[in-house]
């Protein structure tokens, strides 16, 4: 994959070829590519399920698929998108590729564990797809007992084991990042000179490490109950129906912060680069990431306000849920303040970043509706909730992921993608997204429950608008797949720093050599030193090779 013009310089892609060089690599950059392939595959599988759901909801009657099939569709859409796309996407692709580069290290602390995490991810995926092929699972991605443990006769155990296995790939990634960021920063790279991308991934890794095991044991207990008849969640024996919900949401709410925090890290980088300014209030944005990770563990009860939870516990969880909203607000205001007096250019990554700020603001604010006890009684388990979390997942996390892929594509491949096509795709995605999910807020307050295969006729017009939006969104997502693959062969060769961005990853070649830096940098300046210093680091033996 080296262009005709460029002289034969060895880098991590052309150092060796063949399947073995990819399937047995321990280079964090190649493992990032392996994850990119896996994550993209599952994104389009999940997208297929979403398309079928939206087509079914065109009409109030259930005339496209059976009720049973519809239930399996939304379950597999949830499971595939959450566990196999949203959670791994930014950390495992961009995090794996960039964290060693950004902190001036040669690789992650445990490269072989990193490769093992990819195999574990794929093994979990195989289990889940096998369950889908064998007949699917119809419990919803939340697997609430006693339906999932006793009453459902679909492939719950197989799917649950698949997710159990994939959880360990998150744990290994989190472990790798925490140890790498603590022990392998280049000389001079203090914590407060780290790029905010690294801060965000550090906070995410805390959640990987302290949250994922709880979902692992919870799903294992559900599997034990189905396979060996253990009576842990069985109401017949006097089991507490809310125990599963507590254990499940203890992980699954912090999991939504796993999905958004890396996105926030990407956005801090994009806003800084394309305004050519230091991120406004660096310390506050950095600590906000940590605050979100920690407070994120205290709020899970807001999923259970109407589930028979005690009114006093609901009050505690509602108050804590208000507190977790504050760091997100701080971040949004700081990003907006970064634009002030900047020099803003509207390349594709910046369009994704600006779109992120707008959509994340709406997503975050609608979260307050759900954290407010009085309103949640009405909107819980309706399309209001669906709209809220899609504004965060699709509107923010996926936009940030695409923005990050476009921004670091020249660094990963040494090639530039076609800018006009990319801007077009970003705008299509922004418009298609809003048309798909904004009507669902209205549907939600009207009271349309989620997971409904058949719905009253008065909700049809809004549903048709939503399906129309979904088709635009689908087109928007296929475009990047096309022109990014096209750019691998025919893209313009990108130099070391096409965007004139600050950060150690932009001070080595594109694509970088296997050991990332010919000479280990010594960091002397703050992060995002736009207008202050030529480069954040000095290199003991003069300029870095291959300027």
């Amino acid at each position: 994959m080296n262009g005709p013009v460029e002289e034969r310089r060895q880098h991590y892609l052309n150092v060796n070829y063949g399947l073995k060089s990819w399937l047995l690599t321990i280079d964090h950059k190649r493992i990032a590519w392996l994850y990119l392939v896996g994550v993209t595959f599952f994104f389009f599988v999940g997208g297929l399920f979403a398309t079928l759901i939206r087509m079914e909801l065109l009409t109030p009657q259930g005339d496209l698929v059976q009720a049973e099939t519809y239930n399996k569709l939304f379950t597999m859409h949830g499971v595939t998108m959450i566990f196999f796309f949203l959670i791994p996407s930014i950390p495992a692709v961009l995090g794996n590729f960039l964290i060693p580069l950004m902190i001036g290290a040669r690789d992650l602390a445990f490269p072989r564990l990193n490769l093992a995490s990819w195999y574990i991810y794929i093994l979990g995926g195989v289990f889940t797809l096998a369950a889908a092929a064998a007949g699917g699972v119809d419990t919803g991605w939340t697997f609430y007992t006693p339906y999932s443990s006793i009453y459902s006769n679909t492939h719950v155990a197989l799917t649950v084991i698949g997710i159990f296995i994939t959880g360990f790939s998150s744990i290994l990634t989190g472990l790798n990042f925490i140890v790498t960021i603590h022990t392998m920063r280049a000389p001079g790279m203090t914590w407060f000179r780290l790029p905010l991308f690294v801060w965000a991934h550090y906070a995410t890794s805390i959640i990987f490490i302290l949250g994922t095991p709880v979902i692992a044991i919870t799903l294992a207990l559900v599997a034990f109950e189905r396979l060996f008849g253990l009576g842990i969640f069985n109401p017949e024996l006097g089991g507490d129906p809310l125990l599963f919900q507590h254990l499940f949401w203890f992980y699954s709410h912090p999991a939504v912060y796993i999905m958004i925090l890396p996105g926030m890290g990407v956005i801090s980088e994009l806003i800084a680069c394309f305004s050519r300014k230091r991120v406004f209030g660096y310390d506050f944005v950095a600590f906000s990431s940590l605050a979100i990770a920690v407070l994120g563990f205290l709020v899970w009860g807001h999923h259970m306000f109407v589930s028979g939870q005690s009114v006093y516990a609901s009050m505690i969880f509602s108050l804590l849920s208000m507190l977790v909203a504050i760091p997100s607000a701080i971040k949004v205001f700081n990003w907006t303040a970064t634009l002030y007096k900047g020099s803003i250019s509207f390349d594709a990554p910046m369009i994704y970043a600006l779109g992120f700020i707008g959509l994340f603001t709406i997503g975050g604010l609608t979260g307050l509706f759900l954290a407010t006890l009085g309103v949640d009684i009405h909107v819980h388990d309706t399309y209001f909730v669906i709209a809220h979390f899609h504004y965060i997942m699709v509107g923010s996390a996926v936009m940030a992921y695409l923005g990050g892929i476009h921004f670091w594509w020249p660094k990963m491949t040494g090639r530039k993608y076609s800018e006009p096509l990319a801007r077009l795709a970003a705008v299509i995605i922004f418009l298609g997204f809003n048309l798909t999910f904004f009507p669902q807020f209205v549907l939600g307050y009207l009271g349309m429950p989620r997971r409904y295969h058949v719905y009253p006729p008065e909700f049809q017009v809004l549903n048709v608008m939503s399906t129309a939006g979904a088709s635009i969104l689908a087109v928007g997502y296929v475009l990047p797949l096309a022109y990014l693959i096209w750019s691998l062969r025919y893209g313009v060769v990108a130099g070391m720093n096409p965007w004139k961005a600050k950060g150690l990853e932009w001070e080595t070649a594109s694509p970088p050599p296997t050991d990332n830096f010919d000479v280990t940098p010594i960091v002397v300046h703050e992060a995002y030193a736009y207008g202050e210093a030529e480069s954040q680091a000095v290199y003991p033996t003069g300029k870095p090779a291959n300027v």
């Binding site: 900047g342 707008g358 009207l446 429950p449």
Partner: protein, 318 residues
């Protein structure tokens, strides 16, 4: 229906609906304000500070503590207002008034069975009088369901093995949609129905109409005798078990020293799991009735025990 031919906002048909909507408007107002504020700032900065030349380099700005405090304190105070206002409504919704008309609901995979105290029962429909609080005592025979009436802005999960309650007061007659809003299996979307609110007079005629049905209290009394409860739980503590007259709402001291308020859940647990809470001063000899009595049977006995409260006053006088 709005002029568009389809609704954009749900009907307000209960006393709580306007209050929830007020809070909703407040939240909507705050959200629209901040969303437009951010939108205007982004668009303004994007236009004003767009890059003029490729090597343009703006002055670096590190940050501003005053601003940081501002956009921490303002969101915090707004969210606390939301919290307090929301919690207040939440408490009102989960604190049923004592004079409410009690109706029993049993949820079962994919249908709602409603049982009025006067004996009349309905499937997937609930007739209620307007202008009077109605308290639903609900339980599920299989998985978790959720009784949701959008027009009343109220819902609560229906759990297996436990009673959950829900109350509302209809303000205008009409038929309002009922949804099950906790995923419960294949026909989850078919488990719907209507709440039919009638004027009190019409409600009485509806109630007395229909097939002659045995009031729950009477059915409960027959069951109380048939299952032999009467042999231990005789009136005025003459039997081996505690007298159950006036039990509802009374604080009961247990053998373990704890005191528990006797509500519907307490009675249900004591019927199905008698050893779990032994009343102080009584031997723990009560057998479990698990499997010998249906959900409806338990509700009938509870209705009978509630009716005892009124009679006990009479007995003492005799």
């Amino acid at each position: 229906m709005s002029t568009l031919g389809f609704p954009l906002f749900p009907e307000q048909a209960s006393t709580m609906a306007p209050r929830v909507d007020q809070l909703y408007y407040f939240l909507l107002g705050v959200s629209v304000f901040f969303a437009t504020l951010i939108l205007i700032l982004i668009v303004a900065f994007a236009i004003k500070y767009r890059r003029r030349s490729d090597d343009e380099q703006p002055q670096p700005i590190v940050g501003n503590l005053g601003l940081e405090i501002l956009w921490t304190v303002v969101p915090l105070s707004l969210t606390l207002v939301m919290f307090v206002w929301g919690a207040r409504l939440y408490f009102i919704t989960f604190y049923p008034p004592s004079d409410a008309l009690e109706i029993n609901v049993v949820a079962k995979q994919w249908m709602w069975k409603v049982q009025h105290a006067e004996g009349r029962s309905e499937i997937d429909e609930l007739h209620i009088p307007t202008g009077r609080p109605v308290k639903l005592i609900m339980t599920s025979q299989d998985v978790i369901h959720d009784f949701f009436v959008p027009a009343f802005r109220v819902k609560n999960d229906v759990l297996p093995g436990r009673y959950t309650t829900l109350w509302f007061e209809a303000t205008k007659p009409g038929a309002y949609r009922l949804f099950c809003s906790q995923y419960c299996g294949t026909q989850h979307s078919g488990m719907i129905g209507y709440i039919i609110a009638l004027e009190p007079a019409e409600f009485q005629t509806w109630l007395s109409g229909g097939a002659a049905a045995v009031p729950m209290a009477t059915a409960g009394e027959n069951l109380f005798r048939k299952l032999g409860c009467i042999s231990c739980h005789a009136a005025n503590d003459t039997g081996r078990g505690p007298s159950l007259a006036g039990l509802l709402g009374k604080a009961v001291r247990l053998q373990s020293g704890a005191t528990v308020t006797a509500d519907e859940n307490y009675i249900r647990d004591s019927i199905l799991e008698p050893q779990a809470k032994i009343v102080a001063g009584y031997p723990s000899i009560m057998p479990t009735f698990k499997g010998l009595i249906s959900e409806d049977g338990i509700m009938q006995i509870i209705a009978y025990l509630k009716s005892l409260k009124r009679e006990e006053g009479a007995q003492v006088k005799k």
